[in-house]
């Protein structure tokens, strides 16, 4: 018998450390700010270590069913810690030159991670919602953190208003499901629906709102309006945070809500997800072509990628879920590297966020041009990168579930997508550099970014271990 608090030990450590950094940072002079930074990194490492050390093969429920500690949550938590830690390494220099390298940013990042962890291991609507709000609140304020930038304030405002609306919808849907089934516990809801009890009409209404809320949070079309503005307006470091680890948590949210609690309404939500997925893939990829700003382009790419993820998800079986999970993991890895390179090129007073800023990158630094090449290939789904296998897996899952026409549409959409990803490659390799400022960065940043880029290649060639992990984690967590 393990201790009742063990499942939430990583969260507890994270919260305690966040409070410590918050207080410690008040008394640190700016020249010692790196203490807070390293303390944060140590905390993330500790959280990752604890998550691994307390990993359980069988799902373990705690706090009267509010929390579940299964392999799925351990795996996603571990990845979130790694993603957030990497994000901090990448953005340290970027934040410092903009006067944003402050204790609050570190603390809010940690608390955002706490929100993600709560979401990932939630087994009740209550904890799912609270985790989501915690994450969202941190992100809203971090977008606005660059106070002198009008674009950032506008982005934060849009993000906040639309995000609040989405939370409202999700909450409304959850309360309807609660009204119909009389429970907030996802497993109990699943049992009630399975037994055919509960008011069907109210459940369906609740489902509509829940799916809308999820689509808002994922940024799927037609709930995507906030994504480009927020990605563009936010400081790139915050864009990096928004575009990576929270996607893992959003995947967990979708899985727990639709895949567990509302699994009995599978045929109803499949239809909705088909629409969302198709629209996202088409609209995201087509609109991205017209973008000249790389952050905006990557935002539309996110929309399209969420469409692909939903494509795997709507197969609603182990193959589909694990393909979707693999897709999210691949997307997070790629996204980290893409914004990492953007931040690497940025310097004081220069954001490097236009596609033309990448002109002739090969002449300035062949290595970083190569890494960016890998990233773009991975996003476009060119073999042998990670993105290829991810797209292959979700399309295979969709075909396996009988959605052949949808799979065809997905292939066509990714062909359109390849155009604008490869345009970046063309600009880097076949145009002459205008700006020849040398690229400077800290050693840890360079090493990590190189490793990240090479990982895209490595996992692309050898995807099986990662895919195997996804399948095992899901199978052990009860998705058979």
């Amino acid at each position: 018998m393990t201790h009742a608090l063990l499942p939430v030990l990583p969260e507890a450590v994270l919260l305690a450390a966040a409070c410590t950094v918050l207080l410690l940072d008040l008394f640190l002079p700016p020249s010692r700010r790196h203490w807070s930074f390293w303390l944060t990194q140590a905390t993330l490492l500790a959280c990752a270590a604890i998550t691994v050390a307390t990993a359980e093969l069988q799902p373990l429920h705690a706090f009267g069913g509010l929390v579940v500690d299964d392999m799925l949550s351990d795996f996603l938590k571990l990845l979130s810690c790694v993603a957030v830690s990497t994000m901090l390494f990448y953005s340290r220099g970027y934040l410092a030159v903009r006067g944003l390298f402050r204790g609050e940013v570190l603390v809010l990042t940690m608390l955002a991670l706490l929100g993600m962890m709560v979401m990932i291991s939630a087994a009740s609507f209550l904890t799912l919602y609270l985790g989501l709000e915690l994450l969202a609140l941190c992100l809203y304020s971090m977008v606005a953190m660059h106070r002198t930038s009008n674009a950032a304030s506008e982005a934060a405002m849009k993000y906040f208003v639309l995000g609040a609306l989405a939370s409202g919808m999700l909450l409304y849907g959850m309360s309807m499901v609660y009204g119909a089934t009389g429970s907030l516990d996802i497993h109990r809801i699943a049992r009630v629906i399975h037994a055919g009890q509960g008011n069907g009409t109210v459940l369906l209404f609740g489902l509509v709102f829940v799916v809308s809320g999820i689509a808002f949070k994922l940024g799927a079309v037609p709930y995507h309006m906030w994504v480009p503005d927020v990605y563009h307006g936010a400081p790139t470091a915050v864009t990096l945070l928004i575009g990576t680890a929270p996607k893992l948590a959003a995947f967990a949210l979708t899985l727990r809500l639709l895949g567990v609690a509302l699994a009995g309404l599978e045929f109803d939500w499949q239809g909705m997800l088909i629409v969302l997925s198709l629209l996202s893939m088409v609209l995201g990829n087509v609109t991205a072509i017209a973008q000249t700003n790389i952050k905006r382009m990557l935002a539309y790419s996110t929309i399209a990628n969420m469409g692909f993820m939903l494509l795997g998800f709507l197969a609603a079986n182990l193959a589909g879920y694990s393909a979707a999970m693999f897709y999210v993991v691949a997307y997070v890895l790629t996204s980290l590297a893409s914004f990492g390179v953007v931040m690497l090129l940025a310097r004081e007073g220069f954001e490097a966020d236009r596609i033309e800023d990448f002109r002739g990158l090969n002449q300035r630094s062949p290595w970083w041009a190569f890494i960016m090449l890998l990233v773009m290939f991975s996003l476009a789904g060119v073999p042998p990168t990670l993105g290829f296998y991810a797209k292959f897996a979700v399309i295979e899952a969709a075909v396996g579930a009988g959605f052949i026409w949808l799979a065809v549409a997905a292939v066509l959409a990714s062909l359109v997508g390849a155009f604008y990803y490869l345009r970046v490659v063309k600009v880097m390799y076949f145009e002459d550099a205008v700006d020849t400022t040398p690229i400077v960065a800290r050693g840890d940043n360079r090493a990590l970014l190189s490793a990240n880029g090479l990982a895209l290649l490595l996992f692309g060639i050898l995807p099986q271990p990662l895919m195997g992990l996804c399948v095992v984690a899901l199978a052990q967590s009860g998705f058979l």
């Binding site: 509010l66 402050r102 609050e104 809010l108 706490l114 904890t127 985790g131 915690l134 304020s141 606005a144």
Partner: protein
């Protein structure tokens, strides 16, 4: 109609009317005050459902604190609401169509099963009042959710301070500690001077 039923409809009518006035009134301060009235009547409904803790908490938190701060801001804003409203009118047809559609749709589906007279009896009041019952639940079964909610509030504090606090160089602060520690000899120097005599 029994007295509680009468009260229910009376409060419900006030609530709906106040809520309508919140969105239709021209003056934002009036709108905020109508909202206060709406909160009050909602609290009255909760009282009738024997949820006295929720009712009083609604008044205490929303009426007593949130709306006060809201009024505070609204009163200081000098927004020309007519110009905002002009734009609003452009969207009315679309908004009204969508709104009516959703309303009709929900009504069609839900009315059939919900317009029957309710048969559910009020649950028996918890022993020792529902404040105690809620407290017991919050600190036992839901303690995890309670703590996370506390962290959400902590984030709100951190974010609000981080976004608004700026150190102004020109502001002069008073340090009461230093004021108290001041001694006469820090400020005054008593010089010993011999008295001077006037010549003559």
């Amino acid at each position: 109609m029994s007295f509680p039923t009468f009260l229910f409809y009376a409060f419900a009518a006030i609530l709906v009317f106040a809520a309508l006035r919140v969105v239709t009134t021209r003056n934002p301060v009036h709108a905020a005050l109508w909202l206060v009235l709406a909160f009050f009547t909602a609290a009255a409904h909760w009282l009738m459902l024997r949820a006295e803790f929720l009712a009083i908490a609604l008044v205490l938190v929303y009426v007593g604190a949130v709306m006060v701060l809201f009024l505070f801001v609204v009163m200081m804003l000098d927004v020309n609401f007519d110009s905002l409203r002009a734009q609003f009118r452009n969207y009315v047809p679309v908004a009204a169509t969508v709104g009516v559609l959703v309303l009709v749709e929900m009504a069609l589906v839900l009315l059939g099963s919900y317009l029957k007279p309710g048969s559910a009896a009020l649950p028996a009041p918890a022993a020792g009042g529902n404040t105690r019952a809620l407290g017991l639940l919050l600190y036992t079964d839901y303690v995890y959710a309670f703590e996370i909610a506390a962290v959400v509030l902590l984030v709100a504090i951190i974010a609000a301070i981080a976004l608004t606090h700026r150190r102004r160089r020109e502001t002069r602060y008073q340090d009461p500690g230093k004021q108290v520690k001041v001694r006469a000899k820090d400020r005054l120097r008593v010089l010993g001077m011999p008295a001077e005599k006037r010549d003559g």
